[in-house]
Subunit: 409 residues, 4 copies
């Protein structure tokens, strides 16, 4: 029997910005027996998750569900809309934007990687004016798509997608707007149709609270139209057969049935009307994020995201004082307090760590996580201005949740 | 499908002094398919759990496993050793001692309920000298058994069982020593043979980290001998057929197979040699208890147990200032922070609440629980002298665990 | 990690007359986190299972749920209604009737064990006329209770409980009617109020499809009244505090919460209106039983129950030809075909084996079980007249189920 | 809570040629909490499954594990080794060979689809002589790869991979040998290195007994070398970063952690030495297949595979008499007996159905499945020559398993 037993007692605190902790309800749903994906039962499941995901993306147009992890859905977005050598404008918000850019290059696209210089761009969201300016220069409309990360998992900054849409429209440019909301969806507000996004890429292991292994493309009619003439080779990722066959609740090739069970359960949990649905989900992530940032400020440490207007509701990057190796702090916290934190990635490796505050959490989960950070920082010799745990508790105690527990009858 | 959905998001913190949180490993083990309890496989399971429980009770003599919750094992201890009208000396340490006393009376025994006056006895462990004195007076040896609670779940005081043994011996009295260690076993040190206990009663839902539904009698040769002539009617609880049939790994009537799967897993977890076995288990409960008491002291609140030499490693009773209803504080904490605390019972109803720090916990679980208490106390208007969470974190940070997490290879 | 790995591949076929196979839905329900049995959520669970069990017993009067296996509920029925030395008339239908009789004797009751001579009584249900005759002789009403097994698990004969009620009434005798329906409830028709039963004893691991560990007493107002003056010592089993406290959904001592989760799920499954509720449950057990008996007849073997009017819908006893050791046949079948069958008990040890056809089964489960029996019988050298599997398939193919699978939309 | 409740009682029999029934051990393993795929624990898991899969493919060279279903691994095999416009020789064994051929075309490859005319090729395995002949004609070595399906899931015929290797070598042709063993691996014998395969494609939901969602490429050094110059765009599927990063046990992008838990468990089950490892696995599939074919013959029906030397150990295609719609038979069996069978695909749609006999089965599972088929065929009006169930039972009874159940101590 499988044992991965690093944990002498109690439950590990998984406070990385994804995978987020998977609720027992979802693990239980995933343990239903696998069924015939060509049998009569499956159609009900298929229709249910496809409809659920439309509500979560807030779109009336097709959502494609891939039996593959999120990186695959990045590739799908590009392969279905672009042709070899096409120019793509990608915006550098951090490490994941860089990886998407790198993928586009590997696939034979001509990418232009726009952004603020140095680490500066890694501390803010998208600068829509830069995009507008660049698109205006592209009078021949060589640029076929603008790619932006909605919630940059490596930094804890969100990007104003509406502003990008406005920039594209202001430039009267026909480029598609493609958005990565892998770590944003179902935690940070996202409105596919209203915001005018053409392709949105997402994944299962963040706000949807599933294990990794499912990913998504939410489409616009324009993206579907463009896809008919896109020339990048594709088969597994091809939208056409998917969208067609999904009308019946089935998939053109074997879907990952047991993760779809989990997805059906996740949709139920997130959309639950008595709990207030997605608005409540968004509100509780904001609440947690504010509590965590209160803690970081009380410690006297810097938050990676330098623009308060785009603080991420999903994660917070905590910058270490000079001379402190963030990964050594993380390791101490892991080994001593059974708490996983996110590492600094790419340009900020070793300079910061990331606290995930998403998915199946509550106030006390975050008090615990901040407690682990505070003890670990002190043990690592970092001088703290004050108690972050105290600041977070003050925040949580003075702000009631939107949805309290039920009371006894 | 069953839903008991009081919890909008995240995991409930169950910090009552039992049932304690059941580890996933145990829930998974309990989900093995039920087998024929007369088939060849079962004998292996039976022998395994019987041997495991001997190691946990630290006895070489028989342990009887009942497919019944702990209250049943209380009755079993009395019914197997006593006859109608027998005199029993019971010691009042708190609510559970009182309930056991009440049961003995219902069963037709003449109980004498010894203890300090008023609430005083509920703040300390057993006073062995009182027992010795009483036994010396009983020159005709009318008293057939002395019953003591090892870890009084209602107060958070332990009792010195060795001292009671010494008292009985000093009085040269033949009474049996019967001990309730329902909430002590596998959390607080307990040594059945070495301490000279005749019958020890325990249950599954505390240190053993199982759901409720299994209970135990650990026996001494003297208890077995005495049982041959005990006249209280008994059949389900009768030791004779159990002890005989257990030799083959089977049970005289249907055992609760799936909880035995969980028990086998619990024994593996508790006795795991690389983790240090029971000594490590005891050490970590002491560590947690000290952290929690540091918090209570920092708040400026009183600990229910007034004798530091017998503080419970399992739970801590927190006394409210005059005029504060402990149950209202508990309710607020439950509804606002998704944290269950133990109520005050019997004589201390409404005066105190209890924090469980046992079983499948770790430092951060307790930081979270103390955070919930601290926020809830403040919101209830209780003036606190300082931050208990801070005090507990100081304790945990300055005392390394005996068994840290594994390091990466 | 627990392994009890006797099974190289595939799923074991557990076709004993209980424990019956536990459905995944129930195992999943049992894996919900244990909650505080004094907290606000628990009351909902408690009320739900208490109401569900009333519907399953078909009674408007209290049902007591014990956190103990079925043997305990036998003891509870006796201890709550009788006083030391009371006379009890027990009827011998087989091994389990004998064990209940033995228990009554151990508890100090004067039992009279009525029945047909030799093995004859083990091949039929209760003979109500013998009971009536005996009660008429008891003009002084020394007999306080009549105890009958509804579905004798050791033989596969049911007893006509209405006839016993009629016999008692005809004799104008005030004795209580106590029934063991441990293996009958939720498989064979049982109507507590309509049939005029005073105490019905049942358990979890048969028709209720749970693991063992919960048991029941369904009461009549008369039984409750009588219990007030019954003198057998009792505390754990005492109805009074249970019935009182259950009104609020709570229990006087720790219930076995996780099995109650399973019980709630079982009630949902059994009472499901779209499926037809209990009537459908009873019908499908009759259907399976008929298929299995068709097989036994086709083999040319004898059915243990000699009276077709009381064939059990739950199990069928298959009598071996002279000279064949039924347990050797069972062992071969177990080791070769991964199928558990029930052993012959008591007077018929080695003479017969028992096929369970209850709970979470379907037609193909039984085709498989009968296939295993047929192959095993042949390999054991038993001459068979014809193919039992064929006969059962003929039966199943020519009789459609009451509730077919859903069709695709 | 998710319900897909088509099944009134008992367990559905999933006897399609994949997904195969997922053992409880694997479902339990999959329910372990998701961990940080960049944390120290993960490396142990990664190394373990990578090593396990090498043993299952019987290779010393890298195995790539994709967090995607099997169709993706087809694409990966092509995308890593070929350039736009490359010629590929694909052999038509049935529907899945046709789908792979279609994918290759979509990806911009020039495929040649070799095979016997009409349905004839769908009743046999590969004809290696045709391949050799074609390769000899290709004196300029325009053909870059030969693609063959090892176990054609749509027909129940295997292909002799060694013969194809021999044919390629005999033609002195440098084309890569690429094999789809999606439904063959871990059921039918497969020896990657010994057979000289360059790329083998497989998936999780067949012999590996997992839910769908993981797929594999097993590589040869030659394939790795060729991949360096292959020009089809690729990123998600690219071997280079995978193979490099897998050396440390990690993956370049998020793996599907919970399915990897299941995979680790599956490797343990399949490679278990006391059970005889893969040889026993292969032997039991042969045993089941022979039993099923004995049944089909007894019914007087035709087996889809016309060449006994390549009968599949995984599934058997059952051809319907003229005028019988195989899908109506399947539907009746599904709705009446809760048994899923595989539909006829492509050229044989409606002409045949497929019985899966793979993975977590045993003799009685197949007796049940054949019983369901036999009853359903009769109810559909198909005249049967004799009892297939009987024939299968005769086979199973006269051939002992390689690994019997354990005996009691």
């Amino acid at each position: 029997m499988l044992t991965l037993d690093f944990h002498p007692t109690g439950r590990h605190f998984l406070q990385i910005p994804g995978p987020s902790p998977v609720p027992d309800r979802i693990l239980r749903a995933m343990s239903l027996p696998t069924i015939d994906h060509r049998g009569p039962e499956f159609a009900l499941l298929g229709k249910r998750v496809l409809a659920g995901m439309q509500r979560i993306f807030q779109t009336k147009h097709p959502v494609v569900i891939y039996p593959a992890s999120g990186t695959g859905a990045w590739e799908a977005a590009l392969a279905n809309t672009l042709s070899p050598g096409d120019a793509v404008l990608m915006y550098e918000t951090g490490h994941f934007a860089s990886l998407w850019n790198r993928m586009a290059t590997r696939l034979g696209l001509q990418t232009e990687f726009l952004g603020l210089p140095g680490v500066e761009g890694w501390r803010r969201g998208v600068q829509a004016d830069l995009i507008e300016k660049r698109l205006r220069e592209d009078s021949q409309h060589r640029i076929k798509a603008v790619c932006v990360v909605h919630n940059e998992t490596s930094t804890g900054a969100t990007s104003d997608i509406k502003a990008v849409r406005k920039a594209i429209d202001a430039a009267k440019h026909p480029a598609l707007l493609m958005v990565d909301s892998i770590s944003g969806l179902a935690s940070a507000e996202y409105r596919h149709d209203e915001w005018g996004v053409d392709v949105c890429v997402s994944g299962s292991q963040k706000g949807l609270m599933l294990p990794p292994g499912i990913s998504f493309n939410a489409l616009s009619p324009k993206a579907l139209e463009v896809s008919k003439n896109a020339k990048l080779p594709k088969s597994f990722w091809a939208w056409d057969e998917m969208v067609e066959m999904n009308k019946t609740g089935y998939f053109p090739y074997t879907p990952n049935t047991n993760l779809l069970y989990g997805l059906a359960e996740a949709c139920d949990m997130l959309l639950e009307e008595q709990q207030g649905g997605l608005d409540t989900v968004f509100a509780r992530h904001q609440r947690w994020a504010e509590g965590v940032r209160a803690a970081v400020r009380a410690w006297g440490l810097e938050i990676q995201c330098a623009d308060p207007s785009v603080y991420s509701p999903v994660l917070t990057g905590v910058v270490m004082p000079d001379g402190v190796d963030a990964d050594k702090v993380r390791q101490l916290i892991y080994e001593r307090f059974d708490l996983s934190l996110g590492t600094g990635l790419g340009k900020v490796k070793g300079r910061m760590f990331r606290i995930g505050h998403l998915g199946d959490c509550n106030d006390l989960t975050l008090v615990a996580a901040l407690g682990g950070c505070e003890m670990g920082l002190k043990l690592s010799g970092v001088k703290l201005a004050g108690s972050g745990v105290q600041a977070a508790m003050d925040h949580f105690a003075s702000h009631a949740s939107a949805v309290p527990l039920k009371k006894a009858a």
